[in-house]
């Protein structure tokens, strides 16, 4: 039998088992980043410290709501809740409101979020390149905004 072409079965699971985060913590995956949260509220959704919202999604809490660029989502008692005198932001309720897909693995306390659709309107409606942030092989962080002033060909490929 001929050797299988473009087959790397040895790379399917090459890693040793190790913890995803410290016990009692939770992790959020968003745009390729892992954000570890040392404290979360109790309940069915993901209740985060309101101060963590910006480092997760770029949205900032302001008097007019949760805001990103010129978009502001008004807050309500479902999004901002209080438990034992401490305030929490319900990130999953926020995602539901914005129709942002996510999956979570309860046993591992990991939530993985897809992009917020409203942040993509500028591409879908106006044809503007979406923001992204990704390291190159040399470790430099490449952002769409860094490419302003140049023409860019963005091309995906793979070994397969």
């Amino acid at each position: 039998m001929a050797a299988a072409f473009m087959a790397y079965p040895e790379l399917r699971h090459p890693f040793e088992a190790k913890p995803i985060h410290a016990e009692g913590s939770a992790s959020v995956l968003y745009q390729g980043r892992q954000i570890t949260l040392s404290e979360t509220g109790s309940g069915p959704g993901l209740l985060i410290n309101p101060d963590d919202l910006k480092r997760i999604s770029g949205f900032e809490l302001k008097p007019e709501g949760a805001c990103y660029a010129d978009m502001c989502i008004p807050l309500n008692s479902k999004l901002l809740t209080t438990q034992n005198g401490k305030q929490w932001f319900d990130l999953t309720a926020f995602a539901d409101l914005l129709e942002q897909p996510y999956v979570f693995d309860q046993a591992s306390s990991v939530w993985s979020f897809a992009e917020i659709p409203a942040k993509r309107d500028n591409m879908m409606v106006n044809g503007m390149a979406p923001d992204f942030e990704i390291p190159d092989r040399q470790g430099n962080v490449i952002r769409m905004t860094d490419l302003k002033g140049k023409k860019a060909l963005i091309v995906t490929w793979s070994s397969w």
Binding site: Y8, R12, L29, A114, A129, P130, K148, I154, S158
Partner: protein, 213 residues
């Protein structure tokens, strides 16, 4: 990706960049040596989580976007080959790719908005794939699977890779990245059957190039 390196050197314009993005889940171990062999000097990215494909709604490789100085997409989502490739020997070979894409790219770098290959906002937005809620959710499931893989949690990685393909069965990327990490490989029986299904249903495996618009 020696062919893109050649194109990059030929165009040789300080205001033109190529971001060449490898979607291999095998990561640097698979894609790194290919970049190194090409002596690549363009921006090289190993994107095991498919962040760039997600950002531009790509579902296959190779796929590309042209982005102008203002950040406007002027072409998007085409089966992007820089030349005609030939696999095999003289008696029996498979040809794929095309020889019209690179000259068009060169024309755009030279002429900018005046290039006949620049598409209107309407054409560009019409060519961006609309992804359903579940297809977007598949991206989130895929990254969760990859996180579990990186932490040696093999069963969970498999569970969420399976969920990924259930949520987005149309994605060739998810299908083939899974096959490439198996004994069969990404161009074996499963791939041939899938490709055959596409052909019998007259579906485009790649969105065809339309260099007349």
């Amino acid at each position: 990706m020696p062919v893109w390196q050649q194109v990059y050197e030929e165009i040789n314009d300080p205001d033109f960049v190529i971001l060449c993005v490898a979607e291999d889940t095998g990561g640097e171990a698979v894609a790194g040596p290919i970049f190194d062999a090409a002596k690549a000097t363009y921006i090289q990215i190993v994107d095991a989580d498919h962040i760039i494909s997600s950002a531009f709604n790509f579902v296959n490789v190779p796929s590309a976007a042209w982005i102008d100085e203002e950040g406007r997409i002027v072409r998007i989502d085409e089966g992007t080959y820089a030349k005609i490739h030939e696999l095999g020997n003289k008696e029996q070979s498979i040809k794929f790719g095309n020889d019209v894409y690179t000259p068009a790219l060169r024309d755009w770098v030279e002429k900018g908005a005046k290039s006949e290959f620049v598409q209107s906002v309407e054409t560009v937005t019409g060519n961006i794939r609309e992804l359903s809620f579940d297809q977007q959710k598949a991206d989130a499931a895929f990254r969760l699977a990859n996180l579990f893989r990186e932490h040696g949690l093999t069963e969970k990685a498999e569970e969420y890779w399976n969920l990924t393909q259930t949520l987005n069965p149309e994605s060739i990327n998810f299908f083939r990245q899974n096959l490439t990490l198996s004994e069969e490989g990404s161009a074996g029986q499963s791939f041939m059957e899938r490709r055959g299904e596409y052909e019998s249903q007259k579906k485009d495996y790649y969105r065809p190039l339309d260099m007349d618009s």
